[in-house]
Symmetry: C2
DNA sequence: CTGAAAGCGCTTACAG
DNA sequence: CTGAAAGCGCTTACAG
């Protein structure tokens, strides 16, 4: 009586709350305890919790009252074992610490949480072997479904996993019974960026590419070429520099561009990070933005807005990509055909581009 | 016989692999199947899996062979229910998409994964209520322990949770039987930054603060003041501008600084993000860095290196903070007293600071 | 050293 | 509409 595993510094319980208090002290409240308190069977409590069957109003009320009073929280682990659901969704991401994926994961988290699910984030780092390991870990954790953000796994491998559980893939084109995919229109976005530069009067526009192994990178390059073509401008392969979506890559690309003494008045970098690296490269050589060279990025992540000068870029809502991926998964789980819409990419003009003066 | 819940389109199994194949087709291999295959009881398999008791070499071998052959992977969900462990660790973070937390989470993930644990990341957004919800969700998921990165929860609340399960807290000073905390020496780091500026000959050094509600922000301000004092420089409260660790806050602070026509030749911003915002504010008003004003940040996150000009800052290894937090948790779980060491903060001189010319 | 048995907290056919 | 019962895949005292 005197001191059992004393609850941490909670004020002495008023008699009225005693029942609830002592329940807490004996470890978590279980569904069985709720059933007993409400005078019904565990099965009935379970049904009410899951909305699985209609229950008489009286019992419904009694059970709900007991749940409130005892502050019952169902144990997801037990639910997982018994029901085959864990209320958890695996998310295969690439680099959890990148600003891009960070945004997306945040969106996934918010949307999933609202539905009572929890995301399990596992990184793949663009390595097929790691992604496979991540997927295996997720399978063994019995997640209810998996969201895959891009990655390097072959489509066939993803399709195979999708036979085991619902899957939504972002940034690829795949489909199947339990499989849904969607992505941004990278090509249209890249066209927008290029076209903006063209409208400013630029005709010699360099392009800092992404890794051609990734679909989005290829699409962005295609968009660049299409805009050029549409405007009747010649495509000059010498103006396309390889890159890898990193700042370091952008810096390198600019260095090469400058060393080769190519003539150009604008640069379109395949993503913001590369653009920011490019900006530093130009700064180092006293090439002014936008006076000497105009610069456009892609993604509109946080750093773009505070770059010097603030970066003109193409906005795609990465956060929204996350929420939509989660929403699609939830729909798949309910057996509904997913219907997600992503906003179209938009040009965000800032201070890194300007009209050429003749 | 003809069509039960037909497994989706797996190719006809070659006879030799039939056993393993069919096991796979009937759903995941269970511990019971391994026991049957090895001719032992489930209990024995469990013991071997967990190293809980010594087992005769013969059975050990038989079981291990069966595990290999059937490709058995223990079900963590069932383990969690039965054994009270889930091999999962909750991580209460603030903003999963910030470059700072992103780095830390990456470190946590890598370290935990190596030990067979999986992190459950939940965001608190510096809101006490959200953090409490996050912790509750984690508790209900039966995580084996929790890592808390800073946050706004009162120490007392954390201590209460730590009675329920092992906890490691980063960025506070707490201790207890299942509770361990550690953090960077923010004060020393801030002194380093300020001292660097002083050594460059600056005497009027403005400070862009963080939210004083956070311990690290207070410590950084203290470090700034101490360095001033140590150098015999007067502390001028007018030179301390409120901030909030964001770029927007840094920009605002600089605007105010400039509008008040205060005299200063250097700025120390409490973190890199604020410094980057400050840089934009200076750029907007044609104040050149470092010619007119020197600027120092804090953290050395990725953007610092590619700022224009590259930002002098104080490096603290946030990634390492993550790995060490995970390591401490693992030690706690083994019943060992955690012993983690963090590298001391280091000044990273780049191009945003320079000696004042007389 | 090793099994049989009970149990972790739920869910879900199976019968009314 | 509602219970009793079995079971999800493991672990762990309890007995040898």
């Amino acid at each position: 009586m005197k001191s059992r595993s004393s609850p941490p510094a909670s004020p002495p319980a008023a008699p009225a709350r005693e029942a609830a208090q002592s329940a807490r002290d004996d470890g978590p409240v279980t569904l069985g305890m709720v059933a007993a308190a409400a005078g019904v069977s565990p099965a009935t409590v379970s049904r009410i919790l899951n909305g699985t069957a209609s229950v008489s109003a009286a019992k419904q009320a009694a059970v709900e009252e007991a749940i409130q009073r005892l502050r019952f929280i169902p144990n997801p682990v037990a639910r997982g074992l018994a029901g085959g659901r864990t209320l958890s969704i695996g998310v295969v991401t690439q680099t959890i610490s990148s600003p891009f994926y960070g945004e997306a994961l945040h969106g996934v988290e918010v949307e999933l949480q609202a539905a009572g699910y929890i995301p399990l984030f596992v990184s793949g780092h663009w390595l097929e072997a790691e992604e496979r390991k991540a997927l295996e870990a997720l399978v063994s954790r019995r997640v209810d479904g998996v969201i895959v953000l891009a990655g390097s796994l072959p489509n066939a491998a993803l399709k195979a996993y999708a036979k085991t559980m619902p899957m939504v893939v972002v940034g690829r084109s795949l489909s199947g019974p339990q499989l849904f995919s969607f992505g941004f229109d990278n090509r249209a976005g890249a066209s927008l960026a290029t076209q903006h530069l063209i409208e400013c009067g630029h005709t010699r526009i360099a392009f800092i590419a992404g890794d051609p192994a990734h679909e989005d990178a290829r699409e962005r390059e295609l968009g660049y070429r299409m805009a050029l073509e549409r405007a009747g401008l010649a495509f000059d392969p010498a103006l396309v520099m390889p890159g890898d979506y990193t700042e370091a890559g952008g810096l390198l690309a600019v260095n090469r561009l400058l060393e080769q003494r190519l003539s150009f008045t604008a640069i379109f970098a395949a993503n913001d990070q590369a653009a920011i690296g490019a900006a530093l490269g130009l700064y180092r050589r006293n090439v002014r933005i936008p006076d000497d060279v105009s610069l456009v990025g892609f993604d509109d992540l946080a750093p773009a807005k505070f770059a010097i000068p603030p970066l003109t870029t193409v906005r795609q809502s990465v956060y929204e990509m996350g929420t939509q991926a989660a929403r699609a998964m939830l729909q798949l789980l309910r057996g509904q055909p997913p219907a997600v819409t992503l906003p179209r990419p938009q040009l965000v003009p800032r201070e890194s581009t300007r009209r050429v003066l003749r």
